[in-house]
């Protein structure tokens, strides 16, 4: 609490005379100081409580005296204007207190000052006067002297002098009234200013208030009333503490104390009020301390602004930032200080209670590559003021990777120097992951298209290439030309209208294809294409088309050739058959000529050697006869060769019949034939075989068995006990006949060769033969759908096997069997 200054003493000790008047009709004197009492030669008890004009009436002797009226007018002006009123110098004679009824001449310079209460009402008027009598009188004397009026002359007659003084007073009054008019104007200006201020105060869009040093509302405007919901009357009985939100009060009180202690003269902050309806409201508050002339605190002026909407927006913005993972940072280049919004902490995974990380720490939040890039762009921004934006990959404290987008710009001072960088950081990990996935997909798609084993290309709506396969490039001879982004029609300026129409139709949503399309190239060559054009869709709208083509010219040619082949096949078969027939005929005629042309001269040699032998035997010596004998042996051998060769060729081309044959019967027949001709008696033949029927050619099988038998006889002839054994058995649907001899045998390495024509293993003189017999056996069996093979070893004899199909017993055969 401040001690009230000793106003009474100040009042009494003042060197100037004072009266304090009540603003009533009489202007009752409520107080007077010693100086006034002295100057007016009055007693306090005579004047306090009495009306001013009762104490100081007009001097009745002075007709021209308007002093009292002037004073009253001044006092009334003070009451109405509530402003100090300076009066012109007044002659106001003071009654002499010697009870003589005379007046003492006095000139006064009065000032009347209102004292207003809180509501602006005049509660007192301070009437203050200066005794300027001496001053006026000395001026009067000086002026006379200048006008060559002898001073003595003036002062001689009292009456005259009095008149002069009055005249002077009137003149002074006239000069002063000029001054007065100026003051009046100033006062009006002040009033105007004040009215304007009042209007501003009341009509201001912001709340304005004057508060006492204790925080009580002294004056509030309408806007503030609207902000807080109280009437001004209600507010006047309250302090700001009553409506301040509890959490904000502490700070307010602290700030007020700082102001009162002179640490600062003004402050601004955002705080909350509790409105009359209990709702909480954000306000922006600016408080200034108004000091008295002696610099002691007088009162507070507060400007209050409703910032609830902004706060809400800010709140929304913060919420948005939080949701968007959108943070703000600022880097003061001078202080090297960083400031981060909460979101940045969250993005980097740094605890909120820590200060922003230093550069070294921040570098660890990024992959090396991203950090390098960030530093480079930030440096550029710092030196050249280039704003930047880049994606960077971060490594969070939990080891997970993420992506952020960093934006930055330079902050310049008034001189244009870059003093700070500021910007934003946004977590775009999710989007980036989607992008990467998309990129990955795109890459896969690109690879797929690139290496597709088909000729395909993708276009946008303007027929610009989006992608094409390597096959496409090679099929259309694009080489390494960059076509992506280029219009198809610029790549192929000669493309036909027909194709363009197809493209347009597909861009309108159609799918068009052709499995076989014939194209004639510029050089006249014909090309066959299989193609398909179809639109590709993005969200159900056509994004472009895909063209797929396949050069089927080779297939087409092959098809054509095949068709041609089919057409000519019958003819070709006929031709080939005819050729074969001709060939066969020529072969037959060859064999025929061999048999005829070789036998004819042979017959000559035989005939004449025989004639020579018979008719000239006696005329030849022994040697001559030996020669004839050798000639005839050669003829015999030659005849055998020709006969075997004829038999072999006949077997090759004769018509094979399919008879049901009893192998046992054929064996017995062969044994009988051989016994009659070539069979030596010493050979034992065992042919006790079961009767099994086979399917075959009678003559062929007989030839086979006879040849094998003769073969067996020939090679077993020199054995001690020559023995040939037949066996026949059935093996499934086949029948096997086996003929075993105990002859000389042979090495199995010749097992195949012995069946070849003209192949012989022995000298002619040891084992005669043409080398055709076994070849004939093999040929005959081949033609009868059978086969032959042999098992042997040198000195161990040989076993020949033949195999033929089992006879198919038909009803006719059965009947034949019954009959027989």
């Amino acid at each position: 609490m401040h001690e009230s200054p000793p106003y009474q003493q100040l009042f009494e000790a003042s060197p100037h005379p004072y009266l304090i008047l009540r603003p009533n009709d009489d202007f009752t004197i409520v107080a007077v100081n010693e100086k006034y009492l002295k100057a007016t030669d009055t007693q306090r008890q005579h004047i306090v409580g009495r009306g001013l004009f009762e104490i100081f009436p007009d001097n009745p002797l002075q007709a021209a005296n308007h002093g009292a009226a002037d004073l009253r007018a001044s006092l009334n002006r003070v009451l109405s204007d509530k402003h100090p009123d300076v009066m012109s110098v007044q002659q106001y004679d003071i009654p002499l207190r010697d009870n003589s009824g005379r007046f003492e001449l006095k000139y006064w310079s009065p000032v009347n000052t209102p004292v207003l209460d809180a509501t602006g009402n005049v509660i007192y008027i301070i009437h203050h006067v200066e005794d300027v009598t001496e001053f006026i009188l000395s001026r009067e004397r000086g002026s006379r002297h200048n006008d060559d009026h002898p001073l003595g002359k003036i002062t001689t007659g009292a009456e005259r002098m009095e008149a002069n003084i009055l005249q002077r007073a009137a003149e002074v009054k006239k000069g002063i009234s000029t001054l007065f008019l100026e003051r009046q104007r100033t006062r009006e200006q002040l009033l105007e200013s004040e009215r304007r201020f009042q209007a501003t105060f009341e009509q201001a869009a912001v709340g304005i208030a004057i508060l006492s040093l204790e925080g009580r509302w002294l004056q509030v405007n309408q806007t503030l009333c609207e902000i807080v919901g109280y009437t001004s009357h209600e507010l006047m009985s309250m302090s700001f503490m009553d409506i301040t939100y509890a959490d904000d009060l502490e700070v307010d009180l602290g700030l007020l104390r700082q102001m009162l202690s002179g640490e600062m003269s003004t402050y601004a902050r955002e705080k909350r009020y509790v409105r009359k309806d209990s709702s909480v409201l954000w306000v922006g508050l600016t408080v200034s301390l108004v000091q008295k002339t002696d610099h002691s605190p007088d009162y507070f002026i507060a400007i209050i602004q409703n910032i609830q909407a902004r706060k809400e927006t800010e709140g929304h913005l913060n919420e948005a930032k939080r949701i968007a993972h959108f943070g703000h940072w600022r880097w003061n280049l001078n202080t090297r200080e960083h400031s981060w919004s909460d979101e940045i902490y969250q993005i980097y995974g740094r605890p909120l209670e820590l200060p922003p990380a230093d550069e070294q720490e921040v570098s660890r939040y990024f992959t090396a590559e991203s950090w390098k890039m960030l530093i480079a762009t930030a440096e550029k921004c710092r030196h050249e003021g280039v704003a930047y934006q880049c994606d960077a990959e971060i490594v969070r404290s939990d080891g997970n990777y993420g992506w952020i987008i960093v934006r930055g710009e330079a902050v310049r001072d008034a001189g244009g120097h870059i003093v700070a960088l500021q910007g934003t950081v946004q977590d775009i990990t999710e989007r980036k992951q989607a992008e990467v996935a998309l990129q990955h997909n795109k890459e896969q798609l690109r690879l797929f298209i690139d290496y597709a084993p088909a000729s395909l290309a993708m276009f946008d709506r303007n027929m610009r290439y989006l992608a094409c396969s390597q096959r496409w490039r090679s099929d259309y001879a694009l080489g390494d030309d960059e076509v992506i982004g280029v219009r198809h029609y610029d790549v192929f300026p000669d493309i036909s209208q027909q194709w363009k129409d197809i493209h347009q139709r597909c861009l309108a949503g159609e799918v068009i294809r052709n499995d076989e399309d014939r194209f004639e190239r510029a050089d006249g060559t014909v090309m066959w294409l299989r193609w398909e054009v179809r639109p590709w869709l993005v969200d159900a709208t056509v994004g472009g088309i895909v063209i797929f083509t396949e050069d089927i010219t080779p297939q087409k040619h092959a098809e054509e050739i095949l068709q041609q082949l089919n057409l000519t096949l019958e003819q070709r078969i006929a031709e080939r058959t005819a050729e074969l027939k001709a060939l066969n005929q020529s072969l037959e005629s060859f064999v025929y000529s061999v048999s005829h042309d070789l036998k004819a001269p042979l017959r000559g040699v035989e005939g004449y050697s025989r004639l020579l032998e018979e008719d000239y035997r006696d005329r030849l010596d022994d040697e001559g006869r030996l020669f004839i004998s050798n000639i005839r042996a050669g003829v015999t051998r030659m005849n055998e060769l020709i006969d075997d060769l004829l038999a072999y060729s006949r077997m090759e081309r004769r018509t094979i019949e399919s008879n049901v044959l009893d192998v046992a019967q054929l064996i017995h027949q062969a044994v009988t034939e051989c016994s009659a001709s070539v069979m030596p008696d010493a050979i034992e033949i065992i042919a006790d075989v079961p009767s099994i029927k086979v399917q075959g050619d009678r003559e062929g099988l007989a030839l086979v068995i006879r040849n094998l038998l003769e073969n067996a006889i020939k090679f077993s002839l020199h054995a001690i006990h020559p023995c040939i054994e037949f066996d026949v058995y059935q093996a499934g649907e086949r029948v096997v006949m086996k003929i075993h001899d105990n002859g000389i045998g042979f090495d199995m390495k010749y097992a195949e060769r012995i069946f070849e024509i003209f192949e012989r293993l022995h000298r002619l003189e040891d084992y005669p033969g043409t080398g055709i017999g076994l070849a004939l056996v093999k040929k005959a069996l081949q033609r009868m759908n059978g086969r032959v093979w042999v098992q042997s070893a040198p000195g161990q004899g040989a076993t020949f096997y033949i195999e033929l199909p089992l006879a198919q017993v038909t009803s006719n055969d059965k009947r034949a069997q019954k009959i027989s």
């Binding site: 025929y592 048999s595 005829h596 004819a600 000559g604 035989e606 004449y608 004639l611």
Partner: protein, 140 residues
């Protein structure tokens, strides 16, 4: 008896002609042998026969001959109204079934493969002459 009637031998190969003549000589039978050296020469006999020349008791015909072969001669004679009665024995080297078949179809009266062995051939010649010139009866 037709012992004095000629046998016509149609054979192009001179060795065969000679050997055939020798073989028939060895048979000691009487019929003379007239030789035509190819098909043309053989067919040239037709107008002479038609003109009244003595017809042969037997024709021995080789098949493989230059210019006009044996089968053509055979068919021509067998197509002749009068001459078709002359017995024709095909005497050839071929033993081909096809040749045999063709010969008979064309009207051959017999088919004999010439054996390579001369002794055998003499035996065959004897049989031929005996049968066709002695045993066999011809229309008057």
């Amino acid at each position: 008896m037709s012992a004095d009637l000629p046998i016509l031998l149609i054979e192009d190969n001179p060795l065969d002609v000679d050997l055939t003549l020798r073989a028939f000589q060895r048979c000691e039978l009487a019929n003379p042998i007239v030789v035509a050296r190819d098909g043309e020469e053989a067919l040239a006999w037709i107008p002479r026969w038609e003109a009244g020349e003595t017809l042969p008791v037997l024709i021995l015909l080789d098949l493989n001959m230059p210019r006009i072969d044996g089968l053509t001669v055979l068919r021509t004679l067998k197509a002749h109204a009068v001459l078709r009665c002359i017995p024709i024995v095909v005497l050839t080297t071929s033993e081909e079934e096809r040749d045999i078949q063709c010969a008979y179809e064309s009207g051959a009266n017999s088919y004999i493969a010439k054996p390579v062995g001369f002794d055998h051939f003499v035996d065959v010649a004897r049989h031929i002459e005996l049968y066709w010139c002695v045993i066999n009866k011809l229309p008057g």
